[in-house]
């Protein structure tokens, strides 16, 4: 018993508590000089839901194209499903392998501490898609999700002439999407003629989005508009609206511009797409990393020592507004 007590006390003495607050010294923000260059130069992208077609066709394709153009190694890692803790685990393991640069999909504020760890290890770290403002990331490129919500809200107000019932679909619990929902509601609240009949979780699933939409159309025969916030909301809403024979009568706005979205715009099922410029996230994100590693633009005698990041710290890549008027330009791109 005494031995056990002694062992417990020793364990407690050896226990190291986490720091109260993350250090704010500029040294943390600097880039290691020992980063591998030349043949070993490698840039690693870590995302979640690595198999999502939108990620493969836009983010990953542009990143790989960038790697081929610059003759450096690029790797794409991440769990197959939407699993933020798994993404964190992979980033932790990648840090130990010391890549030249890390390009991280800003999936959730919870990845902030691991981004700080990468930065503290001297690895140039760029966040794309959604920002992680609570982190020490060197740079961010992406979309403002609040703006996506506002854009859909304004379009819906215009399409409905300021009155009618609407509903919106997306994935619950994701920071980016909840921000988008807020943007939409902030626009709508100024138009008392517009009634929001519900917020629905389609779990990024076409069948689920279609099921929710058809139920909504039955429950509210006077439903005037639907807004979608994830990549699969649009195709699901489109399917149900077509099956119910309500094309053009129910106005639809949604995000992203995969081939199926564009086709639905051409058919007049979806009235507007709020498209993200995803290729720019990863192409310029990788370029930022490269410019940090190669110190392409020196701003001082020694940027690392001065605690300077020599790339833009925050870039809003903006949104594409795709309607029937310009959809062919995207289909035949």
């Amino acid at each position: 018993m005494k031995k056990l007590l002694l062992l417990s006390l020793l364990s407690l003495a050896a226990c190291e508590l986490p720091p109260r607050q993350a250090s704010t010294t500029t040294a943390l923000n600097t880039v290691s000089d020992s980063t591998a260059l030349g043949a070993d130069e490698e840039y690693v992208m870590v995302t979640t839901a690595v198999t999502m077609p939108m990620y493969i066709n836009h983010d990953q394709a542009a990143f790989k194209r960038w790697g081929a153009k610059h003759g450096v190694n690029v790797s794409v890692l991440g769990p197959a499903e939407w699993d933020v803790p798994a993404q964190i685990n992979i980033i932790e393991e990648v840090i130990g392998t010391r890549p030249s640069g890390l390009l991280i999909n800003g999936t959730d504020p919870a990845i902030g501490p691991v981004i700080d760890k990468a930065v503290a290890a001297g690895i140039p770290t760029v966040v794309y898609d959604s920002d992680i403002p609570n982190s020490k990331r060197h740079a961010f490129l992406g979309t403002d999700w609040y703006e996506i919500g506002q854009m859909q809200g304004r379009e819906m107000v215009r399409l409905l002439g300021g009155k009618g019932k609407i509903a919106y679909l997306g994935i619950f619990g994701l920071n980016s999407m909840e921000t988008g929902f807020r943007g939409l509601l902030d626009v709508i609240k100024d138009y008392p003629g517009i009634e929001v009949v519900g917020k629905f979780d389609d779990r990024s699933n076409v069948e689920e989005a279609a099921r929710i939409t058809s139920n909504l159309l039955s429950a509210h025969p006077d439903l005037a508009g639907l807004c979608g916030f994830d990549s699969n909301s649009g195709p699901g809403i489109g399917l149900a609206v077509k099956e119910a024979g309500r094309v053009g009568k129910v106005k639809v706005t949604t995000v992203d511009w995969e081939p199926e979205h564009l086709q639905l715009v051409r058919e007049g099922v979806i009235q507007m797409l709020a498209g993200q410029k995803r290729e720019l996230f990863t192409w310029y994100g990788a370029q930022f990393l490269y410019d940090m590693v190669h110190q392409t633009n020196r701003l001082s005698a020694h940027d690392a020592q001065a605690g300077i990041t020599n790339v833009p710290t925050s870039v809003n890549t903006g949104l594409l507004r795709i309607t029937q008027a310009n959809v062919n330009e995207f289909i035949h791109r």
């Binding site: 364990s11 050896a14 226990c15 190291e16 508590l17 986490p18 109260r20 690693v44 690595v50 198999t51 790797s75 794409v76 890692l77 991440g78 769990p79 197959a80 499903e81 939407w82 699993d83 933020v84 803790p85 964190i88 685990n89 992979i90 932790e92 393991e93 990648v94 130990g96 392998t97 010391r98 959730d108 504020p109 919870a110 902030g112 501490p113 609570n134 619950f172 619990g173 994701l174 920071n175 999407m177 909840e178 921000t179 979780d201």
Partner: protein, 314 residues
């Protein structure tokens, strides 16, 4: 030798050692380092804690699909009570464990006493509890109290605490399952439920407690995850139930019950963590991992069957 191959804990340990040696030879700079191993263990600690409960249930011939949702829910409940009601950390921890235990009690009661199929009951509970987690946490509750975060973010001998909790839980349950009459009864229940019942074992009550314990362990895992991330994520633990069942089956459990050792849960999770780690080092993307793990699972179960057949013939 045959016995060595037939006993899953030995064959799995051997496989882990072989993969480890191979990886150490190919990646001498990055694989056999303290940093990589402490990270690898940390990454599998949450799954392993849940896997211990799942192993116990599978030994008794049942399983629980709601554990992943309980992980998200318990992180959310702890965060919500601390952040919204300002409840002190220890009280929030206890309340969360009681909450998780109650979910297990509902599962256990309806399955053991009302005869609802475990798959249907826990599948329904998975949805109910995930919905609850989303209601509580919204898009996630951040900036959790320092002492709550310290539960997972502190280190002992340079290794983060969840690894120690995992070892403690595995050690405790391995001891209980080996040495105590109460826990050994789960083997009899899984082996032949009717015979266990006739021999005077209170099968229903034992099953109820099995679900309660599993849920409490998932509650512990959920709090440790939230504490590690400093955030309660409503999307945490998605797909965890199947990952954990895979680990436990790899570790020697059988869906028909009566088989398995607690240490097998750790070994199964460690094997999966090792495969995942090697894939990160080789820069192989996520979807290959699922394919590879699926193939390994089939190979493991199939080789068991083949060995059993040969054993029966010999």
């Amino acid at each position: 030798m045959r016995q060595l191959v037939q006993e899953r804990t030995y064959s799995l340990t051997l496989t882990i050692v072989l993969i480890g040696l191979g990886a150490a030879l190919v990646f001498p700079q990055t694989f056999p380092t303290f940093g990589n191993w402490s990270q690898l263990l940390l990454n599998l600690s949450i799954d392993t804690i849940v896997a211990v409960g799942m192993m116990l249930l599978l030994i008794a011939g049942v399983f629980d699909l709601s554990v992943g949702s309980v992980v998200a829910f318990s992180g959310g409940i702890a965060a919500y009570t601390m952040m919204v009601y300002g409840i002190p950390v220890p009280v929030a921890v206890v309340l969360t464990l009681i909450g998780a235990g109650l979910i297990g009690a509902v599962n256990g009661y309806l399955i053991a006493y009302q005869g609802i199929n475990p798959m249907i009951q826990t599948l329904a509970m998975m949805g109910i509890v995930r919905g609850g987690a989303l209601l509580i946490s919204g898009s996630g509750i951040q900036n959790l109290p320092y002492w709550f975060n310290a539960l997972s973010q502190s280190r002992l001998l340079g290794i983060q605490m969840p690894v120690w909790y995992m070892l403690l839980i595995v050690g405790t349950f391995a001891f209980l399952m080996n040495k105590t009459v109460f826990f050994r009864r789960y083997y009899y229940i899984g082996g032949n439920e009717q015979a266990a019942d006739l021999s005077g074992i209170r099968v229903k009550r034992m099953k109820l407690w099995g679900f309660v314990l599993t849920s409490v362990l998932a509650g512990v895992a959920g709090m440790l995850l939230a504490s590690r991330l400093g955030t309660a994520l409503p999307t945490a633990g998605r797909g965890l139930e199947l990952r954990v069942i895979t680990a436990v089956i790899l570790g020697g459990a059988s869906l028909s019950g009566g088989h398995g050792k607690i240490i097998g849960a750790l070994l199964g999770a460690m094997f999966m963590g090792l495969v995942s780690n090697v894939m990160v080092l080789t820069r192989v993307s996520g979807y290959w991992q699922d394919i590879i793990l699926g193939l390994i699972l089939i190979a493991a179960v199939w080789s068991d069957k083949a060995l059993q057949k040969r054993g029966a013939l010999a």
